[in-house]
């Protein structure tokens, strides 16, 4: 990879907002700012301000919606930006789409950026679909000529041929979105910024839209910055992502890891001081100092206590053995809070023999495409030893969470009441 591939670079981007209502006091702040500015001093209000945490009541009137954001995007990459509500996603996109400016830092880019922050921007309800295509296209930075050359394609993609000469106020919200997305999809900027557009529109159109975005990045070689709460869409579109939390980038890397990080942040972390690390040396079932003394749980290579459906489950076991076992058995049972078991096996069931040497060692249990679906708490029993009396079993050694994911990407997540597991290879057909 060479550095010339970097099409967009954000450096130390921060954005400060003032809390409360803008009313009394702003004039005096403005005068104070101006007074500092003419004496060549820096803005006195930029110094105050704290991290954007909505839950705690801050002391300052100013708050950092974004703080020191750094990331790079390569040409042709689809970068997912994920985070909880209030994490700073929208602020970041607003800066990216030049709707507002950062308080400090800079974003450098090549080519044009077009944004699709909310579809139908600038749609005039009185104008017809065709007129709105022109208007919306022009707002997004296209020339009339460009739009005319793509008009037929846009209309076809939107699937609104019949209504194209009807004022858009008579359109259903779904039709408006389809038309607006179609305009943006045929726009040819080097960088396209998309926020939550797929929230509207039916499953068929969502699929079409995702497909179109994949085309845009893969064939068109264009870069897409994609923000969505639809993790299935994010996963199928993006290769890399950034996770925002309280205005900071908390993770930057492969999209699977970003998603697990995102799900993890759904849970209260106070309960798990060492997230995904389980100290077992004091476990109630422990008879000697030997055996498994620690376990670590990974979801898509990220240390966590939450596994989501269809991800990679990886359990690392750290053990100490007082002697060699030539026919060792290492196994686990995964069960829910009602102690109903879903998976229970050891290496012998898998047909692989394991030899455990005396001393410290590590074992790994990997379940690819993790099948459990019903969201909730689960427990793991761990087994270590041989068939003889040296067998150690640790009941409920690990407590973890499963987060059911929309593995079919249909936008209609399975119902936990009816689905304890989710299996991808299911089809329903006629004829």
């Amino acid at each position: 990879m060479n550095s010339n591939n970097i099409i967009l670079k954000a450096e130390n981007v921060s954005k400060q907002y003032r809390l409360g209502t803008v009313g009394t006091g702003t004039l005096s702040h403005d005068v104070n700012r101006w007074w500092h500015a003419i004496r060549g001093k820096e803005d006195p209000y930029l110094k105050v301000g704290e991290i954007n945490d909505r839950t705690s009541k801050g002391t300052s009137e100013y708050v950092w919606a974004l703080k020191d954001i750094n990331f790079e995007v390569e040409a042709g990459e689809v970068l997912g930006i994920i985070g909880k509500n209030g994490a700073g996603k929208s602020t970041l996109l607003k800066i990216l789409s030049r709707v507002t400016i950062p308080s400090t830092g800079s974003i450098k880019y090549k080519g044009r950026i077009a944004s699709l922050l909310e579809v139908g921007t600038g749609f005039n309800p009185e104008l017809t679909g065709r007129e709105n295509i022109y208007l919306n296209g022009a707002i997004l930075g296209m020339t009339k000529k460009e739009i005319t050359s793509k008009l037929a394609e846009i209309i076809e993609f939107s699937g609104c041929e019949r209504y194209i000469d009807t004022p858009t106020k008579r359109y259903s919200s779904g039709m408006t979105v389809r038309l607006a997305f179609a305009v943006a999809a045929f726009l040819e900027p080097e960088i396209l910024v998309i926020d939550e557009v797929l929230a509207v529109g039916d499953a068929e159109f969502q699929k079409k839209a995702i497909g179109k975005m994949q085309d845009i990045s893969k064939q068109g070689g264009r870069t897409v910055l994609f923000v969505s709460h639809n993790m299935a869409a994010v996963k199928s579109l993006c290769t890399r992502g950034i996770v925002l939390e309280n205005g900071r980038v908390v993770y930057h890397g492969r999209i699977e890891e970003c998603i697990s990080k995102y799900y993890m942040s759904h849970y209260d972390t106070a309960e798990n001081h060492s997230l995904g690390v389980y100290e077992l040396s004091n476990h109630i079932d422990k008879k000697s100092k030997f055996g498994i003394y620690k376990a670590e749980l990974y979801c898509n290579n990220l240390l966590t206590d939450t596994i989501f459906t269809d991800s990679e489950f990886r359990l690392k076991l750290f053990y100490e053995s007082y002697r060699d076992f030539f026919e060792a058995e290492i196994g686990l049972v995964i069960k829910d809070t009602d102690q109903i078991s879903y998976i229970g096996l050891n290496n012998k069931h898998l047909g692989n023999a394991i030899v455990v040497k005396e001393g410290k060692g590590q074992a790994e249990i990997v379940i690819e495409d993790f099948p459990l679906f019903a969201t909730g708490d689960y427990f793991i029993n761990l087994y270590f030893g041989d068939q003889g009396p040296n067998y150690e079993s640790l009941e409920n050694a690990i407590k973890f969470k499963v987060f059911g994911e929309d593995i079919f990407g249909s936008g209609r997540k399975l119902d936990s009441a009816w689905n304890k597991i989710a299996h991808k290879k299911i089809s329903i057909k006629t004829g």
């Binding site: 550095s3 970097i6 003032r18 607003k94 709707v99 909310e118 890397g253």
Partner: protein, 302 residues
């Protein structure tokens, strides 16, 4: 593999920041030069400008019965009422010109100014939802207002011309000279002045909403000191101590001159016109700079 990639990119990033040889097309930064207005960009968005003009002109009379006739009804009735009140009741003399024509000329030019001013002064507030989502040069919006109002003005001018012909047939001696060719120039000044003031107000409205109330009735009051329904000389003659009100009002000069060019009524003042031109250029430049500064971050305060 991916971690390797990231490390490489980090390395690349370091070497790059040392060399700083990258060429970027654009940089989004907090500090921007006060004077750097990208006129090239505005030119690139000219199609958008035309589409906005079209939208403004067309959508106004969609789902109305009278359609574009509404553009005519307002100035006609205003002139009619002015004629009844100011000329017939109050007895203001309009010289040899029929009072209705005199008022129509004033109202027409004045309307263009107020339309430009009031509509542009609303720019940021009215378009906050669009501006909040997508970027395009914000200046396009007030420019489109000035141009679409020019279209409305042209329609109103046609009605003025037809009334002029009507009065000429009735026996009014037409006094048109070559100087009437300067009229478009005057309209342009009026538009630019309205645009300039509108830009200043719209920029300030984003923070201090009080101004939008001020504009509403301020414009009405301004009309009475802008020689719309009386000749400039009349006020100076009747209220000499308030003569400065009209003397320093660039709008009065424009309207007076417009009437002189069209109807040969009133007087023309070279100094006054120069003063008007100076004020217009000054206000417009200031408005442009203020607007440019506001457009970058108004969305946080609006």
């Amino acid at each position: 593999m991916n971690f390797l990639k990231m490390n490489q990119s980090e390395l690349a990033y370091r070497s790059q920041s040392q060399a700083e040889s990258e060429s970027w097309d654009a940089i989004i930064e907090p500090k921007n030069s006060f004077l750097a207005i990208d006129f090239k960009e505005i030119w690139r968005y000219r199609d958008l400008l035309l589409l906005f003009v079209k939208r403004d002109v067309v959508t106004v009379y969609k789902q109305t019965v009278l359609g574009p006739l509404w553009y005519l009804i307002q100035p006609l009735f205003t002139s009619l009422i002015f004629t009844v009140i100011f000329n017939n009741v109050a007895g203001i003399s309009t010289g040899t010109t029929p009072p209705f024509l005199f008022n129509l000329a004033g109202v027409m030019v004045w309307n263009y100014f107020t339309a430009c001013l009031t509509e542009t002064s609303d720019t940021f507030k009215k378009n906050a939802s669009v501006f909040g989502k997508v970027y395009f040069p914000r200046l396009i919006v007030p420019l489109s207002v000035v141009i679409s109002n020019l279209v409305k003005f042209a329609i109103q001018f046609l009605i003025f011309v037809s009334f002029y012909l009507f009065y000429a047939l009735q026996g009014m001696s037409p006094q048109i000279t070559v100087s009437v060719l300067c009229f478009p120039f005057l309209v342009l000044i009026m538009g630019i002045l309205g645009l300039g003031l509108g830009m200043i107000i719209s920029s300030m409205v984003t923070k201090y909403r009080d101004l939008s109330f001020l504009v509403g009735f301020g414009v009405q009051l301004l009309m009475y000191v802008s020689a719309v329904m009386y000749p400039m000389a009349l006020l100076k003659q009747k209220l000499p101590e308030l003569g400065w009100l009209i003397e320093y009002n660039p709008l009065a000069y424009i309207i007076e001159t417009a009437r002189y060019l069209l109807l040969h009524e009133g007087q023309i003042s070279g100094n006054g016109l120069l003063y008007t031109l100076g004020v217009t250029v000054g206000i417009f430049t200031f408005g442009l700079l203020v607007f440019h500064k506001t457009e970058k971050s108004f969305i946080d305060t609006v």
